[in-house]
């Protein structure tokens, strides 16, 4: 594997079995939560996955973090295939990969003090460290997330902190082991705008200081564009477009991305050109493996879109899109 790549995800799939019918006539249909997802993250890079709720972005992150078993595919982290190695080995690797969760009110145990919460990673991976050394690390970690003076926070309980402060503690817990990789699952979506910016800047700052590599999951394109070097757009379990942030925002190539970018960039544009960008159709929730998942809402669909799922196709400069006919209609519209 290329040495500069930290995480590589290959043909990752997660299916759920949906049972229907009676006991005597049981029907089982497979529902794809994540379908043939491929991406890689280079060292020091932030890759954003954006998409609407239920598109499979969180499921992907949970599989990467080994909180959920994949149905098939491989996840290569530092050259180890996380899907085949033993549990003990995975746990050893967790030292290098940590996660930040969405809900700061739920992610810290309400019965534990901040110091105990931050000790937890050290107790799991640095058992032999003397306890005063551990305390030093905890204080360092609290300082690194800009809560000062750190000693003030050590013996508090989570309910004595604000949402933003809690999320900072959650970040401290993730970076205290000095990991190389962090998966952040919508870390700011539950926070107010005024606090949100602080968390985003903190993450960018930590990346610079610690050389972190990040998988950043969000539903908000403007947040993604602020944070990420590259963006992958997910729709109904598939990556429909992936590329450098600038490319995605300036020249989106999948009809879904185009709609998304134009909505966020300029709502007025969307209102006045309503006819042009109609996406009225229902979301296809059955998610069968045949055909393009976006076909129910796509304004440019052709016959082939109904029968065959589009493969992701490189457009050059690291930009790729999964659409059968993007070349046809892109020409027409431009």
């Amino acid at each position: 594997m290329d040495n500069s790549v930290l995480l590589k995800v290959n043909q990752l799939k997660k299916t759920f079995i949906k049972k229907s019918g009676t006991v005597f006539n049981r029907k089982k249909t497979e529902v794809y939560a994540v379908n043939n997802v491929n991406f890689e993250i280079k060292k020091g890079e932030i890759l954003g996955i954006i998409g609407e709720s239920g598109c499979g972005k969180t499921t992907t992150a949970r599989m990467v973090m080994r909180l959920m078993e994949e149905s098939s595919g491989e996840i290569l982290f530092e050259g180890n295939n996380l899907c085949t190695i033993k549990n003990a080995e995975t746990n050893r690797l967790r030292k290098n990969m940590q996660m930040i969760f969405q809900d700061p009110y739920d992610t810290l145990n309400p019965g534990m003090r901040i110091v105990d919460i931050l000790m937890e990673p050290l107790n799991a991976h640095e058992k032999n460290l003397p306890s005063n050394e551990k305390l030093k690390r905890v204080i360092e970690a609290i300082e690194s997330i800009e809560l000062k003076p750190a000693e003030d926070y050590l013996y508090r309980y989570p309910h004595q902190l604000s949402g933003g402060q809690r999320q900072r503690i959650a970040i401290a817990r993730a970076v205290i082991l000095k990991p190389s990789f962090i998966a952040a699952d919508e870390p700011t979506s539950m926070l107010d705008v005024s606090v949100r910016a602080g968390i985003l800047n903190l993450l960018l700052d930590l990346r610079k200081k610690m050389g972190l590599t990040m998988l950043f999951i969000t539903h908000d394109l403007s947040t993604a564009s602020y944070m990420c070097d590259r963006i992958a757009v997910m729709y109904q379990g598939r990556i429909v477009e992936i590329g450098p942030t600038k490319k995605i925002i300036q020249s989106p190539s999948h009809p879904y991305t185009i709609a998304l970018v134009s909505v966020v960039k300029d709502l007025n544009y969307f209102i006045e050109n309503r006819e042009k960008l109609i996406l009225d159709g229902e979301v296809d929730s059955t998610r069968k493996d045949t055909g393009c998942t976006f076909v129910t809402r796509c304004p440019h669909q052709e016959k082939v879109c109904h029968s065959k799922a589009p493969e992701i196709e490189a457009l050059g400069n690291g930009h790729a899109v999964a659409c059968h006919c993007h070349s046809n209609w892109l020409e027409k519209t431009s």
């Binding site: 909180l67 746990n91 969760f101 810290l108 145990n109 019965g111 937890e120 799991a124 991976h125 959650a170």
Partner: protein, 285 residues
């Protein structure tokens, strides 16, 4: 926080009249059990008076068929009844916690298997089996405890499992997993603290349950003949015809009242413990 928490629990219990009454009753019985040698006027095993004496200045509750003091018997019987009740409840709660936590946390086939086992234990007709078992393995102090706890761990296991299922979906449990914390530590640090309050209230319920069962078994003559509990006293009273004569007032009624009071004490404590678990009250921090 730990101190505050217990203080808050105490506030809830003490602000609740029933709870306070329950706890006072339990404390009184505990004192009686501990101080039985001091309180009892006679050695309960010694023949100290004429058989079948009515209550008089020497023997406040009269004597039994072989001339032992009934009051002393009752005071010493508190020890046995309470001990059997608490030990049996403890064992069944520990068993229930174990099954509940394992079943809830691991889920899948383990869960299915354990829960079917629970169903099985729950649907078995309770008393007949208990009588059968007690008769089969023979009456002794430990056998009684064993029989009671073997048949009463199932319903606590259910309750605890459902609590574990809720706790398992908490963000901090998932966070602990992603950190790489071992399962042992997750269960002890994140799951168990959330289970303990429920286990406590289940324990109180189980204890009152066990005391009743012990009394029933002993009354049927399946109790340990060498450690006389309240149930055993009732058994002898019945066997010697006290139910049919005036003797029921001092021989049958007192143990019956004591059993009822103790069970009520446990039940009231249980109610107030449940109030602690009520999320509406827990919110007010």
């Amino acid at each position: 926080m730990e101190k505050q928490k217990w203080k808050r629990y105490w506030n809830v219990i003490s602000s609740n009249n029933l709870g306070l009454l329950g706890i006072s009753l339990l404390v009184i019985f505990l004192l009686i059990a501990l101080l039985a040698p001091l309180l009892a006027p006679f050695d309960p095993t010694a023949r100290v008076g004429a058989p079948f004496s009515k209550p008089n200045g020497d023997f406040l509750l009269g004597t039994n068929d072989i001339g032992q003091d009934i009051l002393s018997e009752l005071l010493y019987g508190t020890r046995v009844s309470l001990l059997i009740g608490i030990l049996a409840a403890l064992i069944s709660i520990i068993l229930g916690c174990l099954v509940g936590i394992v079943s809830g946390y691991y889920g899948g086939k383990v869960d299915s298997f354990l829960m079917r086992l629970v169903d099985l234990v729950l649907v078995i007709p309770f008393l007949p089996l208990m009588i059968l078992l007690a008769a089969f393995i023979g009456p002794s102090f430990w056998n009684i405890i064993l029989v009671i706890s073997l048949l009463s761990w199932a319903s606590p296991a259910r309750v605890i499992r459902s609590q574990v299922l809720t706790l398992k979906t908490k963000g901090y449990v998932e966070a602990a997993r992603s950190i790489g914390t071992s399962i042992k530590v997750i269960l002890f640090r994140h799951i168990l603290p959330g289970v303990i309050p429920i286990a406590l209230s289940q324990f109180v319920m189980a204890a009152s349950h066990s005391i009743l069962i012990e009394a029933s078994l002993s009354f049927l003559g399946l109790g340990d003949p060498f450690t006389k509990s309240w149930g055993t006293i009732l058994y002898y009273a019945q066997a010697r015809g006290a139910f049919l004569t005036d003797a029921w007032i001092w021989w049958v009624l007192p143990p019956g009242l004591l059993i009822t009071t103790l069970v009520i004490g446990f039940a009231f404590t249980g109610y107030s413990l449940e109030e602690i678990l009520n999320p509406r009250l827990r919110k007010e921090r």
